[in-house]
Subunit: 456 residues, 2 copies
Amino acid sequence: MSWETYLDREQARFVDELLDFIRIPSVSAKPDNIPDVQRAAEWVAARLTAAGADHAQVMPTAGHPVVCADWLHAGPDKPTILIYGHFDVQPAEPFDLWSSPPFQPEIRDGRVWGRGASDDKGGMLVPILAVEALMKTTGRLPVNVKFFFEGQEEIGSPDLPPFVAANADRLKADMIFSADGLQWSPDQPMLVDALKGLVSLEIVVRAARSDLHSGLHGGGIANPAMALGHVLAGLKAADGRISVQGFYDDVIPLTDEVRASIARIPFDEAAYLAETGAPAPFGEPGYSTRERLWGRPTLDVNGLTSGWQGAGTKTVLPAEARAKITCRLVAAQSPERVFELIRAHVMAHTPQGVTVEVLQNPGRADPYLVPTGHNATAIAAQVLEEVYGTPPYRTRLGGSIPVMTTLLDVLGVHAVMFGFSHDDENLHAPDEFFRLDAFRRGQTAYARLLERLGRP
Amino acid sequence: MSWETYLDREQARFVDELLDFIRIPSVSAKPDNIPDVQRAAEWVAARLTAAGADHAQVMPTAGHPVVCADWLHAGPDKPTILIYGHFDVQPAEPFDLWSSPPFQPEIRDGRVWGRGASDDKGGMLVPILAVEALMKTTGRLPVNVKFFFEGQEEIGSPDLPPFVAANADRLKADMIFSADGLQWSPDQPMLVDALKGLVSLEIVVRAARSDLHSGLHGGGIANPAMALGHVLAGLKAADGRISVQGFYDDVIPLTDEVRASIARIPFDEAAYLAETGAPAPFGEPGYSTRERLWGRPTLDVNGLTSGWQGAGTKTVLPAEARAKITCRLVAAQSPERVFELIRAHVMAHTPQGVTVEVLQNPGRADPYLVPTGHNATAIAAQVLEEVYGTPPYRTRLGGSIPVMTTLLDVLGVHAVMFGFSHDDENLHAPDEFFRLDAFRRGQTAYARLLERLGRP
């Protein structure tokens, strides 16, 4: 029997197993659910063993556990593949906005409805089922496989970097595939070539020791909120280009090839404006809106605070004004270097009559860029084209996914996002669902991927 | 017996009466004290009658009452003088910061300690006592006198403009003196030549419909907080000069004479910086710090609000950013015209990718400038020089006193601030006090003022 036939034959059972998995409310953010996250880990370990994996093991961290397993009998001439995913889920509140209870999953309209169906229980089950199909029909796998599933992705994986560092040998692999990922649409695959990095900072402008009466002191000393306006205006020109000296120095330019590949992907600017409600697109001159969103670094004010913020008028001369700022970075910018550049720029342009401090805030991520010609990505692209009948879009994301950089930092491998969710599936919202045809297609894609990786 | 001897002989009784007056907790801001404000009004009316005034009457308003009285027998060839003051007081909380209970006044170190001792119960009692001394010793007054005392000054006199308008005939006078006022120091008198006006507004910058993920949308559309920085920087140049087109057009320039008279008044810039805690003075170029504080219009940001203001990092692209702004105006600027100028300026310089709205906030005041050669001011200056042995400083205040402009608007008369408090007397704070020697000297000053005004 072919693995494809096996997958077809067992699909009803697989869907039932997915429903069982969703019934475990493994909400990593809620202390009450700590035992449920543990229970989900044990479910995953048992499922891996049932699929034919060896050494399936729930491993402790300082927080929620990790599950590891492997099958390493393909031989030393075959590559070793690490597959990543997560079994924890977002909180389901508010429950009353769900059409069916989040932890009592239902099937309607060819979709599984429930918390975690798409993010990432359905997703992470897919490669386990592909491995089972290969094991049950061929008795082996075409490559050496390691599984690495975590239970704290939805709270930012705080214990993952030390865990990965401490278990680097166990996790070591030639290629990494993340089963936590999206496709462009049910008919259109995609591969993510880059993620942006992040640096977070705060600018604090001060003048008087305390808030003062604007009638008694206005005109005598500087106004920190006005001075902050000048500081902000000095960071980004009116045309949207970031003015911080040296900010763009380390940016790897978008090549004509990359720009052409981005331009091939449909982008409906009117729909984008309708979605966001913004009156116009805006940003760095010389780039399309999508190029800016995907491929260029940004500097955004996340918050402002100063003086009186209640209703009406309070004639106060504020003592202090603060702006929170994050920059989204692209390769090869460094969060630390960009922070220093901004600090130096602000210090070199401090307005008269105030003192200015630039503080680093928590949250940093290195930008992530899959190198040109990256083998695992090229193979994933071929498999997606075969399975979907059309080549994948090569996309970039403006957000950061810390686990991708953690794996790169410690293991030295660029992971490939190879997941089958879609961004319309209410991830992190009520009425989360997962498409059953994507669940099935993902299994084929993973089985083909492993086969292809095992070919000489 | 001279009125001076009468004042000396009765001083102990007058101080006892001031203590009685302070014992009435006439806190206009607190609903519980409404009966106390009424009781204070009745106390004042009775005290006016005892002093020899006619028609002393507690008159209702929509809120706290007003007390009016008069003595109009000096003859038609004599001027009519209106004397203003207020019998309501600030709340006294926190009580535990007072050295003695705020409504159980004590005399220590030649001072009366208690809420309202300086602002304005001691102050408004002064002209009543001067009138009593003149009446008891001469049987008459040198001029026609009207009294106008209110019970809602500490809550912004909300019902005063309609009251003054409805009673304009009754309040009509040739000159107005306010017994709610300060002297420079116990040894140095002053006269206030100008008060600043006020206009209050809010700038609202918007882009997206709601807060968005800065990773998904940063670089795609404009950031309203950054755009607000550009708007603010466009309102005031880095050197402190207001850039709003036409802003200074209606400003009456400071003459060399006025600048010289300001320069004669000692100003310790180092002490001012130590007091405020600001690192340096700052403001419009070409003017001294005191000229800016007293004689030039200002534009101050009173508050900023946008996006995430809590601790740490939130990677949000805010939907909206707001700045609250007040301008302090000088003669002959108009609050309405300045608002329109700012609105037009902001609209003409709206940053790309956002919408901007400029809203007027509550709170407006016309600037107040005593005309050169103003007769009542000249006479007040002579009296102060006689009583203190040194000519008064001619000062200006950065704040607004709405009753001054209300009286000017309705009665067409520039009031003279002729009060004997000092700004170190903890007005509006715990341990308010009034100097007994100033209380006594003020009585002489008012008696002399009335005499001088009655001379042909």
